[in-house]
Symmetry: C2
Subunit: 150 residues, 2 copies
Protein backbone atom coordinates (compact mmCIF):
# COMPACT_ATOMS: atom_id res chain seq x y z
CA UNK A 1 0.00 0.00 0.00
CA UNK A 2 1.43 3.38 -1.05
CA UNK A 3 0.34 6.27 1.19
CA UNK A 4 1.53 9.68 0.04
CA UNK A 5 0.73 13.40 0.12
CA UNK A 6 1.45 15.76 -2.76
CA UNK A 7 2.14 19.52 -2.78
CA UNK A 8 2.70 22.25 -5.32
CA UNK A 9 6.02 24.09 -5.04
CA UNK A 10 6.62 27.73 -5.95
CA UNK A 11 10.09 28.28 -4.48
CA UNK A 12 12.83 25.71 -4.68
CA UNK A 13 15.07 25.02 -1.70
CA UNK A 14 18.68 26.23 -1.96
CA UNK A 15 21.49 24.07 -3.26
CA UNK A 16 19.38 21.38 -4.91
CA UNK A 17 22.55 19.99 -6.47
CA UNK A 18 23.58 18.51 -3.11
CA UNK A 19 20.75 15.95 -3.23
CA UNK A 20 20.56 12.68 -5.17
CA UNK A 21 18.80 13.20 -8.50
CA UNK A 22 16.99 10.68 -10.71
CA UNK A 23 16.28 11.24 -14.40
CA UNK A 24 12.75 9.89 -14.89
CA UNK A 25 10.81 9.17 -18.07
CA UNK A 26 7.36 7.62 -17.73
CA UNK A 27 4.23 6.93 -19.72
CA UNK A 28 0.82 5.30 -19.24
CA UNK A 29 -0.92 2.34 -20.85
CA UNK A 30 -3.98 2.63 -18.60
CA UNK A 31 -5.15 5.16 -16.01
CA UNK A 32 -7.86 3.27 -14.03
CA UNK A 33 -6.10 1.23 -12.75
CA UNK A 34 -2.76 2.87 -13.51
CA UNK A 35 -0.47 0.78 -15.70
CA UNK A 36 2.70 2.81 -16.06
CA UNK A 37 6.14 2.26 -17.53
CA UNK A 38 9.08 4.17 -16.05
CA UNK A 39 12.75 4.59 -16.83
CA UNK A 40 14.66 5.79 -13.76
CA UNK A 41 18.27 6.49 -14.72
CA UNK A 42 19.18 3.08 -16.22
CA UNK A 43 16.45 1.02 -14.55
CA UNK A 44 13.13 0.12 -16.14
CA UNK A 45 9.84 -0.76 -14.41
CA UNK A 46 6.23 -1.62 -15.04
CA UNK A 47 4.08 -0.15 -12.26
CA UNK A 48 0.50 -1.06 -11.39
CA UNK A 49 -1.48 1.19 -9.03
CA UNK A 50 -5.04 0.60 -7.89
CA UNK A 51 -7.49 3.52 -7.75
CA UNK A 52 -7.14 6.06 -4.89
CA UNK A 53 -5.57 9.40 -4.03
CA UNK A 54 -4.00 9.31 -0.54
CA UNK A 55 -3.56 5.49 -0.41
CA UNK A 56 -3.32 2.87 -3.16
CA UNK A 57 -1.89 -0.56 -3.86
CA UNK A 58 1.33 -0.37 -5.86
CA UNK A 59 3.49 -2.99 -7.57
CA UNK A 60 6.81 -2.21 -9.25
CA UNK A 61 8.00 -4.95 -11.60
CA UNK A 62 11.25 -4.96 -13.57
CA UNK A 63 11.35 -4.48 -17.34
CA UNK A 64 14.23 -4.77 -19.77
CA UNK A 65 15.23 -1.74 -21.86
CA UNK A 66 13.74 -3.55 -24.89
CA UNK A 67 10.38 -4.29 -23.26
CA UNK A 68 10.25 -0.72 -21.93
CA UNK A 69 10.78 0.72 -25.41
CA UNK A 70 8.22 -1.71 -26.86
CA UNK A 71 5.59 -0.77 -24.27
CA UNK A 72 6.40 2.94 -24.68
CA UNK A 73 5.24 2.68 -28.28
CA UNK A 74 1.79 1.71 -26.95
CA UNK A 75 1.46 4.61 -24.47
CA UNK A 76 -1.50 6.99 -24.26
CA UNK A 77 -0.72 10.71 -24.24
CA UNK A 78 2.77 12.08 -23.76
CA UNK A 79 5.91 10.59 -22.28
CA UNK A 80 6.55 12.59 -19.10
CA UNK A 81 10.14 13.54 -18.33
CA UNK A 82 11.21 14.99 -15.01
CA UNK A 83 14.15 15.34 -12.66
CA UNK A 84 13.46 13.95 -9.19
CA UNK A 85 15.51 15.29 -6.27
CA UNK A 86 15.41 13.14 -3.13
CA UNK A 87 15.60 15.43 -0.11
CA UNK A 88 15.78 14.12 3.47
CA UNK A 89 13.26 15.80 5.81
CA UNK A 90 12.54 14.62 9.37
CA UNK A 91 12.29 10.81 9.06
CA UNK A 92 11.01 11.11 5.47
CA UNK A 93 12.27 11.68 1.95
CA UNK A 94 10.75 14.50 -0.07
CA UNK A 95 10.59 13.58 -3.75
CA UNK A 96 10.79 16.90 -5.56
CA UNK A 97 9.80 16.55 -9.22
CA UNK A 98 10.86 19.23 -11.72
CA UNK A 99 8.91 18.49 -14.88
CA UNK A 100 10.40 19.06 -18.33
CA UNK A 101 9.14 19.31 -21.91
CA UNK A 102 5.40 19.91 -22.29
CA UNK A 103 4.95 20.15 -18.50
CA UNK A 104 7.91 22.39 -17.74
CA UNK A 105 7.29 25.00 -15.02
CA UNK A 106 5.32 22.40 -13.03
CA UNK A 107 7.00 21.42 -9.76
CA UNK A 108 5.49 18.88 -7.38
CA UNK A 109 6.70 17.39 -4.10
CA UNK A 110 5.56 14.02 -2.81
CA UNK A 111 6.17 12.43 0.57
CA UNK A 112 5.46 8.77 1.26
CA UNK A 113 4.37 7.56 4.71
CA UNK A 114 4.33 4.24 6.56
CA UNK A 115 0.71 4.74 7.76
CA UNK A 116 -2.34 6.94 7.26
CA UNK A 117 -1.76 8.37 10.75
CA UNK A 118 1.80 9.38 9.88
CA UNK A 119 0.44 11.04 6.72
CA UNK A 120 -2.11 13.02 8.75
CA UNK A 121 0.49 14.04 11.36
CA UNK A 122 2.97 15.33 8.77
CA UNK A 123 3.84 19.03 9.03
CA UNK A 124 5.15 20.21 5.66
CA UNK A 125 8.24 22.42 5.45
CA UNK A 126 7.65 26.15 4.90
CA UNK A 127 8.70 26.04 1.26
CA UNK A 128 5.77 23.73 0.33
CA UNK A 129 2.80 25.53 -1.25
CA UNK A 130 -0.76 24.27 -1.76
CA UNK A 131 -1.53 20.60 -1.03
CA UNK A 132 -2.95 18.74 -4.08
CA UNK A 133 -3.17 15.18 -2.70
CA UNK A 134 -6.90 15.07 -3.37
CA UNK A 135 -6.84 16.84 -6.73
CA UNK A 136 -6.77 14.16 -9.47
CA UNK A 137 -5.55 16.77 -11.98
CA UNK A 138 -2.09 16.50 -10.42
CA UNK A 139 -1.80 12.76 -10.87
CA UNK A 140 0.93 12.07 -13.42
CA UNK A 141 -1.46 9.79 -15.33
CA UNK A 142 -3.87 12.74 -15.74
CA UNK A 143 -1.03 15.10 -16.69
CA UNK A 144 0.16 12.69 -19.41
CA UNK A 145 -3.23 12.96 -21.13
CA UNK A 146 -4.01 16.65 -20.47
CA UNK A 147 -0.85 18.64 -21.07
CA UNK A 148 -2.89 21.46 -22.56
CA UNK A 149 -4.11 22.29 -19.02
CA UNK A 150 -0.64 23.73 -18.25
CA UNK B 1 6.83 -18.09 -7.79
CA UNK B 2 4.81 -20.13 -10.29
CA UNK B 3 6.18 -23.67 -10.83
CA UNK B 4 4.38 -25.67 -13.48
CA UNK B 5 4.76 -28.49 -16.01
CA UNK B 6 3.01 -28.54 -19.38
CA UNK B 7 1.95 -31.47 -21.59
CA UNK B 8 0.41 -32.00 -25.00
CA UNK B 9 -2.87 -33.94 -25.01
CA UNK B 10 -4.07 -36.21 -27.80
CA UNK B 11 -7.03 -37.93 -26.11
CA UNK B 12 -9.44 -36.09 -23.86
CA UNK B 13 -10.66 -37.69 -20.63
CA UNK B 14 -14.30 -38.83 -20.57
CA UNK B 15 -17.13 -36.63 -19.34
CA UNK B 16 -15.30 -33.32 -19.42
CA UNK B 17 -18.62 -31.58 -18.77
CA UNK B 18 -18.49 -32.69 -15.11
CA UNK B 19 -15.54 -30.35 -14.38
CA UNK B 20 -15.57 -26.59 -13.76
CA UNK B 21 -14.88 -24.70 -16.98
CA UNK B 22 -13.50 -21.18 -17.48
CA UNK B 23 -13.95 -19.20 -20.70
CA UNK B 24 -10.57 -17.49 -21.17
CA UNK B 25 -9.53 -14.71 -23.55
CA UNK B 26 -5.98 -13.40 -23.31
CA UNK B 27 -3.49 -11.26 -25.17
CA UNK B 28 0.07 -9.99 -24.76
CA UNK B 29 1.59 -6.52 -24.52
CA UNK B 30 5.11 -7.84 -23.94
CA UNK B 31 6.70 -11.30 -24.00
CA UNK B 32 10.04 -10.83 -22.14
CA UNK B 33 8.92 -10.27 -19.43
CA UNK B 34 5.35 -11.39 -20.09
CA UNK B 35 2.77 -8.63 -19.69
CA UNK B 36 -0.56 -10.30 -20.35
CA UNK B 37 -4.20 -9.29 -20.10
CA UNK B 38 -6.79 -11.98 -19.42
CA UNK B 39 -10.56 -12.18 -19.22
CA UNK B 40 -11.64 -15.25 -17.24
CA UNK B 41 -15.42 -15.55 -17.35
CA UNK B 42 -16.37 -12.09 -16.00
CA UNK B 43 -13.07 -11.29 -14.26
CA UNK B 44 -10.25 -9.24 -15.76
CA UNK B 45 -6.54 -9.34 -14.89
CA UNK B 46 -3.19 -7.90 -15.81
CA UNK B 47 -0.51 -10.56 -15.35
CA UNK B 48 3.25 -10.06 -15.16
CA UNK B 49 5.57 -13.07 -15.44
CA UNK B 50 9.34 -12.97 -15.26
CA UNK B 51 11.41 -15.05 -17.71
CA UNK B 52 11.62 -18.83 -17.17
CA UNK B 53 10.02 -22.11 -18.23
CA UNK B 54 9.52 -24.43 -15.21
CA UNK B 55 9.53 -21.65 -12.57
CA UNK B 56 8.80 -17.91 -12.81
CA UNK B 57 7.59 -14.97 -10.72
CA UNK B 58 3.95 -14.19 -11.39
CA UNK B 59 1.68 -11.31 -10.35
CA UNK B 60 -2.05 -11.19 -11.12
CA UNK B 61 -3.56 -7.72 -10.73
CA UNK B 62 -7.22 -6.79 -11.22
CA UNK B 63 -8.42 -4.78 -14.23
CA UNK B 64 -11.83 -3.33 -14.98
CA UNK B 65 -13.68 -4.42 -18.13
CA UNK B 66 -12.94 -0.96 -19.58
CA UNK B 67 -9.19 -1.08 -18.88
CA UNK B 68 -9.07 -4.66 -20.22
CA UNK B 69 -10.70 -3.59 -23.50
CA UNK B 70 -8.41 -0.54 -23.71
CA UNK B 71 -5.28 -2.64 -23.19
CA UNK B 72 -6.53 -5.31 -25.60
CA UNK B 73 -6.43 -2.70 -28.37
CA UNK B 74 -2.65 -2.45 -27.76
CA UNK B 75 -1.95 -6.20 -27.90
CA UNK B 76 0.70 -7.85 -30.09
CA UNK B 77 -0.43 -10.79 -32.21
CA UNK B 78 -3.78 -12.51 -31.78
CA UNK B 79 -6.19 -12.62 -28.88
CA UNK B 80 -6.12 -16.24 -27.67
CA UNK B 81 -9.44 -17.82 -26.71
CA UNK B 82 -9.67 -21.16 -24.95
CA UNK B 83 -11.84 -23.22 -22.64
CA UNK B 84 -10.07 -24.30 -19.45
CA UNK B 85 -11.34 -27.38 -17.64
CA UNK B 86 -10.13 -27.71 -14.03
CA UNK B 87 -9.70 -31.42 -13.27
CA UNK B 88 -8.73 -32.70 -9.81
CA UNK B 89 -5.84 -35.20 -9.91
CA UNK B 90 -4.04 -36.46 -6.78
CA UNK B 91 -3.48 -33.35 -4.67
CA UNK B 92 -3.29 -31.16 -7.81
CA UNK B 93 -5.55 -29.50 -10.35
CA UNK B 94 -4.98 -30.23 -14.01
CA UNK B 95 -5.75 -27.16 -16.12
CA UNK B 96 -6.80 -28.58 -19.47
CA UNK B 97 -6.85 -25.89 -22.16
CA UNK B 98 -8.85 -26.47 -25.37
CA UNK B 99 -7.80 -23.69 -27.72
CA UNK B 100 -10.24 -22.09 -30.14
CA UNK B 101 -10.08 -19.87 -33.23
CA UNK B 102 -6.68 -19.71 -34.95
CA UNK B 103 -5.22 -22.24 -32.49
CA UNK B 104 -8.07 -24.76 -32.53
CA UNK B 105 -6.98 -28.42 -32.41
CA UNK B 106 -4.27 -27.48 -29.88
CA UNK B 107 -4.86 -28.99 -26.43
CA UNK B 108 -2.47 -28.39 -23.54
CA UNK B 109 -2.55 -29.46 -19.90
CA UNK B 110 -0.75 -27.58 -17.14
CA UNK B 111 -0.20 -28.58 -13.54
CA UNK B 112 1.06 -26.15 -10.91
CA UNK B 113 3.19 -27.30 -7.97
CA UNK B 114 4.10 -25.92 -4.55
CA UNK B 115 7.83 -26.70 -5.04
CA UNK B 116 10.38 -27.76 -7.64
CA UNK B 117 10.66 -31.12 -5.88
CA UNK B 118 6.90 -31.71 -6.14
CA UNK B 119 7.12 -30.83 -9.85
CA UNK B 120 9.93 -33.37 -10.37
CA UNK B 121 8.08 -36.09 -8.40
CA UNK B 122 4.84 -35.69 -10.37
CA UNK B 123 3.71 -38.77 -12.30
CA UNK B 124 1.39 -37.65 -15.11
CA UNK B 125 -1.85 -39.54 -15.79
CA UNK B 126 -1.86 -42.00 -18.71
CA UNK B 127 -3.87 -39.70 -20.96
CA UNK B 128 -1.10 -37.04 -20.98
CA UNK B 129 1.11 -37.10 -24.11
CA UNK B 130 4.51 -35.43 -24.69
CA UNK B 131 5.83 -33.01 -22.06
CA UNK B 132 6.53 -29.52 -23.46
CA UNK B 133 7.49 -27.65 -20.27
CA UNK B 134 10.88 -26.74 -21.72
CA UNK B 135 9.68 -25.98 -25.26
CA UNK B 136 9.14 -22.20 -25.49
CA UNK B 137 6.98 -22.72 -28.62
CA UNK B 138 4.15 -23.86 -26.35
CA UNK B 139 4.15 -20.74 -24.21
CA UNK B 140 0.90 -18.87 -24.84
CA UNK B 141 2.89 -15.67 -25.43
CA UNK B 142 4.74 -17.42 -28.29
CA UNK B 143 1.53 -18.92 -29.67
CA UNK B 144 -0.12 -15.46 -29.76
CA UNK B 145 2.61 -14.23 -32.11
CA UNK B 146 3.16 -17.40 -34.19
CA UNK B 147 -0.24 -18.89 -35.00
CA UNK B 148 1.01 -19.90 -38.44
CA UNK B 149 3.10 -22.62 -36.75
CA UNK B 150 -0.13 -24.60 -36.13
Amino acid sequence: MEIERKFLIQHLPDHLEQYPCLEIQQAYLSTKPVVRIRRQNTEYYLTYKSAGLLAREEYNLPLTKESYEHLKSKADGIVITKKRYCIPYLSYTIELDLFEGALQDLILAEVEFPSRQAALDFVPPRWFAKEVTYDPKYQNSYLALHTQCF
